[in-house]
């Protein structure tokens, strides 16, 4: 298992849509609260294993809406 990544979107509906799509494609993904240091949005983002990064990128390229960005999970402990 690699370090986790966060896929940031503009709205919770998009987060759920992408999470469902990733699961359907066999990629384990969960809904996660957005760390405050990353965004001031009230909603959720999608967390997935960094090992799936390429596959996730490819899927995201074909969805009908824009995402914000994909970032490495910002670890809070050293």
């Amino acid at each position: 298992m690699s370090d986790p990544y966060l896929l940031l979107v503009f709205t919770t509906s998009h987060a759920i849509g992408i999470q469902k799509k990733l699961e359907k494609e066999g990629i384990h993904a969960t809904l996660s609260t957005i760390p405050r240091g990353v965004s001031s949005d009230c909603g959720m983002c999608v967390r997935f294993d960094g090992a799936d990064l390429e596959k996730v990128q490819e899927i995201v390229d074909h969805i009908p809406f824009e995402i914000q960005e994909i970032i490495p999970f910002p670890k809070q402990s050293s």
Binding site: F10, T11, T12, S13, G17, S40, G43, M44, P64, F65
Partner: protein
């Protein structure tokens, strides 16, 4: 406060107002949502908020799939179809635009249109036949270079006439104009596909043929709709772009400000699944068409009764109207309800233009509407009661006069 009542027997013929009873699955889904998905969708990431967001996303997928839309984010929820129609008309139309409407439109369309007229939008009624169905050949001539939108009441809430939506869609596309279809009476009762029926804006309500609760509805946007040109009807918090005081531009948040009706949408989703389950191979629709055919056949035998339906049975929905010579509609409805347990709706049905078209303005009609759960026995009981009234109204009116 509503108290539990046990009437002897209810014969419900007011499904055009709202369907009743709702399937048990709808009630269970709503209860489950309130118990297990009680957070605020899109606000926060805790388990109850996530569960609420998932309930609403599932409803969005269910609605999109039901109407043949391949992108669930092109579904925007609203609190009812009146709000949906307002969203499209007020959001799209600008001064100088011209609108064409069918002669059977509900006030949900006519009132916003009249308000828009004061802001420089003009409108005209499409030519029609006696039953209110649009004359396609004459309709073409009504399109002008300023025409921006055609509004179609798919199934009349007065006489049940169904408009030829696909043909009108072809006309709209040839002319390069957009088409808004009000499916308040038709959704759930007949197949509707936003792509193959060439619909641009599909406005729907959840609480009629889709068997969901009141307080649900929305718009499905077709693939050629210029979303960027449609202003939101309501602005406010969406749980997204919270750092900005500007409304988000993307779907569905552009049109969904404020807390969404999670329990209601859980019920709507369950209602749509119920309709799909019961309408496999179109069997529910076939039964309902057969029921309507029997209903019309029996009513035609009653003396002194005028029947308002589609001229062609193939263009008949599950709503019809009647009037009885020399009998006040309101009194008839009161007697049907109090003495027979038969619930109908009288008056103008918020559709004065439709009644003018049918020649029943201003006194209106007695409207009878059925659902997939209506039985032949219920139809026969209703017809027998109407027959009593129509054959000898004096007896019924005397009973009315003697009532304390």
């Amino acid at each position: 406060m509503i108290t539990e009542q046990h009437p002897p027997k209810i014969y419900y013929f007011d499904h055009a107002a709202t369907s009743w009873p709702k399937p048990p699955e709808v009630i269970e889904a709503m209860q489950l949502a309130l118990e297990s998905a009680g957070g605020n969708a899109g606000r926060g990431g805790h388990q109850l908020a996530k569960a609420a967001s998932s309930v609403i996303y599932d409803a969005r997928e269910t609605v999109a799939d039901f109407f043949g839309c391949d992108d669930p984010f092109r579904v925007a929820f609203a609190s009812n179809i009146t709000e949906s129609v307002n969203l499209v008309m007020q959001g799209l139309l600008k001064p100088g635009d011209h609108v064409l409407v069918t002669p059977m439109e509900h006030n949900a369309v006519m009132r916003p249109l009249t308000a828009l007229q004061k802001r420089g939008v003009t409108w005209e009624v499409l030519p029609c036949f006696e039953d209110g169905s649009v004359d396609l050949y004459a309709a073409k001539k009504k399109i002008r270079k300023e025409t921006r939108l055609m509004v179609i009441c798919h199934e009349s809430n007065v006489n049940g006439v169904i408009q030829p939506v696909r043909s009108l869609g072809e006309l709209a596309r040839e002319a390069g104009i957009l088409m808004l279809v009000d499916t308040a009476q038709s959704a759930g009762h007949m197949p509707i596909n936003i792509e193959t029926d060439l619909i641009d804006f599909l406005a729907f309500t959840g609480h009629k043929g889709l068997m969901g609760p009141t307080g649900t509805g929305g718009v499905v946007f077709g693939s050629r709709v210029p979303i960027d040109e449609i202003s939101p009807l309501i602005y406010g918090g969406t749980g997204s772009y919270s750092e900005s005081i500007e409304q988000p531009l993307f779907l569905p948040d552009r049109f969904e400000s404020g807390t969404q009706n999670c329990a209601g949408l859980a019920g709507l989703s369950a209602g749509i699944h119920w309709v799909k389950d019961h309408n496999r191979d179109g069997r529910m629709q076939a039964t309902q068409n057969q029921m309507m055919s029997v209903f019309i056949g029996l009513l035609k035998q009653i003396p002194n009764l005028s029947l308002y339906t589609a001229a062609n049975l193939h263009m008949q929905g599950d709503v019809l109207s009647i009037t009885i010579a020399e009998v006040d509609n309101g009194l008839a409805a009161e007697w049907l309800d109090s003495d027979c347990g038969i619930m109908v709706r009288t008056g103008l049905h918020c559709a004065p233009m439709a009644h003018r078209t049918l020649g029943t303005f201003p006194s209106g009609t007695i409207r009878l509407s059925i659902s997939p759960l209506t039985t032949i026995e219920e139809i026969e009981t209703c017809v027998a009661a109407v027959n009593t009234f129509a054959t000898d109204p004096a007896v019924v009116l005397k009973a009315w006069d003697n009532r304390v």
